[in-house]
Symmetry: C2
Subunit: 261 residues, 2 copies
Amino acid sequence: MAKSKKKDPPVILITNDDGVSAPGIFNLVEAVKDLGKIIVVAPDKPQSGMGHAITIGNPLRLHPVHLFEGIEAWQCSGTPVDCVKLAVDKILHRKPDLCLSGINHGANHSINVIYSGTMSAAVEAAIESIPSVGFSLLDYSVEADFSAARKYVRIIVENLLKNPLDKHLILNVNFPAVPDSLIKGMRICRQAYAKYEEDFLERNDPTGKKYYWLTGKFVNFDKGRDTDVWALEHNYVSVVPVQFDLTNYVLKDKLQKTWKL
Amino acid sequence: MAKSKKKDPPVILITNDDGVSAPGIFNLVEAVKDLGKIIVVAPDKPQSGMGHAITIGNPLRLHPVHLFEGIEAWQCSGTPVDCVKLAVDKILHRKPDLCLSGINHGANHSINVIYSGTMSAAVEAAIESIPSVGFSLLDYSVEADFSAARKYVRIIVENLLKNPLDKHLILNVNFPAVPDSLIKGMRICRQAYAKYEEDFLERNDPTGKKYYWLTGKFVNFDKGRDTDVWALEHNYVSVVPVQFDLTNYVLKDKLQKTWKL
């Protein structure tokens, strides 16, 4: 229908869950800053493990920050999902062409996708019909080497700007913590079935009352060669397309037969 | 394999996201208390909209509470997902046979499943191989009438105790806010594609600085008669089987063809 192609550069919203001053988001901005008009709206503090939390009972704050040269950036007092909602409604006043989240410091493969603020920001964007990608590097260190990650971020973003695929697109991209020379390429994967086996650390406060710290061991039950965990263990960049329709259709059919409603 | 059937009553873990003192959880306990050994572990304050958030940077507290006659109950300082993790690891020291979450004050149909603390607690249980059900009533009032909901909770729980179906079972059950006499029965549904159109309320604090309150209009784009929204609008109890594998398999195939890796 549209013969007059729009010439404006694509608008790319960038967020994360480690906070606006984390090295990961700096590296994400650096990787793509010449590919469109970049706007950063990210939490003012670490928000790891916030999942798809939104702020209901409290007001939110937005403050401009001067962290990225020549790029409009805001810090938000809320969760990663709040950042996406506020960015679209109060800063951009339009849908960006793409939303990028990360680069997260630490893995978001397998079941981590559910706990991850990085991925939840991407999911929120896709609910809003904004194609989105969450990026994570399997290295928690603030001194992590993002150079290989940056190379692949660029390949993926250029690809998606040329061929957006789907307005509800969500990609969960994880990078192995190895130098670029050891990375074998990208693999399209499914989410591995893995989980954490919790073992809360129990301590007593000065008055003798107990408190608990969440700790846990990651356990992968899924040896499939088509999983993200397999890909990462074999030095591939894992790319898992994600969806927000959580309906279990197999169980739906089974229930319809079993319950005979 | 097991000829000696276990005679112990099933252990049922009950949680919610409105807090341990909400009427909804009281009604849930009342509905099922004679069907097994009940343990309540729920947040000490409202945790609506917390999604799948977990508490990473802070310790957690657990306190016994005497709210339900003859039933062991604890309040937890964390999120609904924290409650499930702590209950299994530090209170039960085993997996319960079933986890029930709710009854939530307010709808968790369609996209709400993603933001809902009620449903995230159920999802967490299922990740742990504990079949689980989240219940929600389409009435925010603290004076809501839970009598019809209680009837159906009982039917569903009796059914699942007799026939557990799947260790990763998650059901998202919503009740229309109408008297029992108007409810037409239960329907197995898929999650409707609907979303919130945000319209943040903008205000100035006493120093003139802006702050924002999240508000939004629920918009349903999905007119399918097999959706939860349709069922609820037509006075059915909606039952959506939910999964935690978020892989978009359709897009996975498409990407594999398009990206030619």
